[in-house]
């Protein structure tokens, strides 16, 4: 990756890495908990984040800023000499669907499974629009939890059966 920002300034490796770490933590927060935020509010959050950085880190952020948002519905454009603004049009998957998955998916796999579904969701969203994408998401949630809870249910019924048999045997023992 080049350390050159859109204005042609080349930045120190260590500063770029530091800025990248901060940016990752910030985007993780904003994309994960950004549901229900309006585009203006999301844009304001990015601007607020950039303004809160020391100047050198802010400029270093511009070296990867645009490419890190590529592939999403987030449109970034160069506004003035010093600041970037972002037009956020990303639609997030329905929260209720995500919550249902939270209930059934093992903690270790939760983040990656939700991310996989979200990656597909964005594809469906692009092709068919919000309403159909949301319906698609709920259908996938229903399809996804079946195989995941099957082993738990199997174990539950197995031990229930063992307990039932044990209980019945005990009746015959004086």
């Amino acid at each position: 990756m080049s350390n050159e920002d859109p204005k042609g300034r080349v930045h120190n490796d260590a500063i770029v890495k530091k800025a990248e770490r901060k940016w990752r933590a910030f985007t993780r927060q904003i994309f994960r908990h950004g549901h229900g935020l309006t585009n203006d509010r999301l844009r304001a959050k990015i601007e607020e984040y950039l303004k809160g950085l020391p100047v050198e880190e802010q400029e270093a952020t511009y070296t990867f800023f645009q490419s890190s948002l590529r592939g999403t519905d987030v449109e970034v454009y160069h506004d003035t000499d010093a600041t970037f603004t972002a037009e956020m049009t990303t639609e997030f998957p329905p929260r209720m669907g995500e919550y249902v998955l939270y209930l059934f998916v093992k903690k270790e796999y939760r983040e990656s499974l939700l991310g996989d579904l979200e990656q597909d969701y964005q594809e469906v969203l692009e092709k068919f629009g919000v309403r159909k994408a949301k319906f698609w998401y709920y259908a996938k949630v229903a399809q996804t939890i079946g195989p995941l809870i099957r082993p738990t249910l199997k174990r539950f019924f197995k031990w229930s059966a063992v307990a039932w048999i044990g209980d019945n045997i005990r009746r015959f023992i004086p």
């Binding site: 990752r24 985007t27 993780r28 927060q29 904003i30 994309f31 994960r32 890190s68 948002l69 592939g71 999403t72 987030v74 990303t90 997030f92 998957p93 998916v105 093992k106 270790e108 796999y109 983040e111 990656s112 499974l113 939700l114 991310g115 996989d116 579904l117 979200e118 990656q119 597909d120 964005q122 996938k140 399809q143 996804t144 939890i145 079946g146 195989p147 995941l148 099957r150 082993p151």
Partner: protein
């Protein structure tokens, strides 16, 4: 080394997909590979259930990747086949080879039984 448990059909497909995808083996890419190979839709839940079983048995290991914006800031989990997984695949292959031995499939019409 003999693996403790034999592989189920989907587990075997998932293991083969991971072996094939190597560095790029994560949920979506594994599912797509399985769907391509079998020509049937595979649910992501079934894939993750298989991954969980395989990891519990020590056939695969996983690591967390970087979070990306296109996935809503969520990280990918990359999977890798371990030695026990390779041994399990070899054993499954041997079983199939033994089962095929002497099986006369020549009389079947092309594309299977009508």
């Amino acid at each position: 080394m003999k693996p403790t448990k034999q592989l189920g059909d989907l587990d075997e497909l998932v293991l083969l997909a991971i072996a094939r995808l190597q560095e790029d083996a994560y949920g979506v890419s594994i599912r797509k590979r399985v769907e391509e190979a079998t020509n049937r839709p595979a649910s992501i839940g079934a894939i993750y259930a298989a991954l969980e079983r395989l990891e519990d048995q020590g056939f695969i290991s996983s690591r967390q990747g970087e979070p990306t914006a296109e996935r809503g800031g969520r990280a990918k989990r990359y999977f890798k086949v371990e030695g026990a997984g390779i041994a399990a695949l070899r054993e499954a292959d041997e079983i199939r080879a033994k089962m095929r031995e002497g099986a006369n499939l020549g009389w079947l019409p092309q594309g299977g039984v009508a």
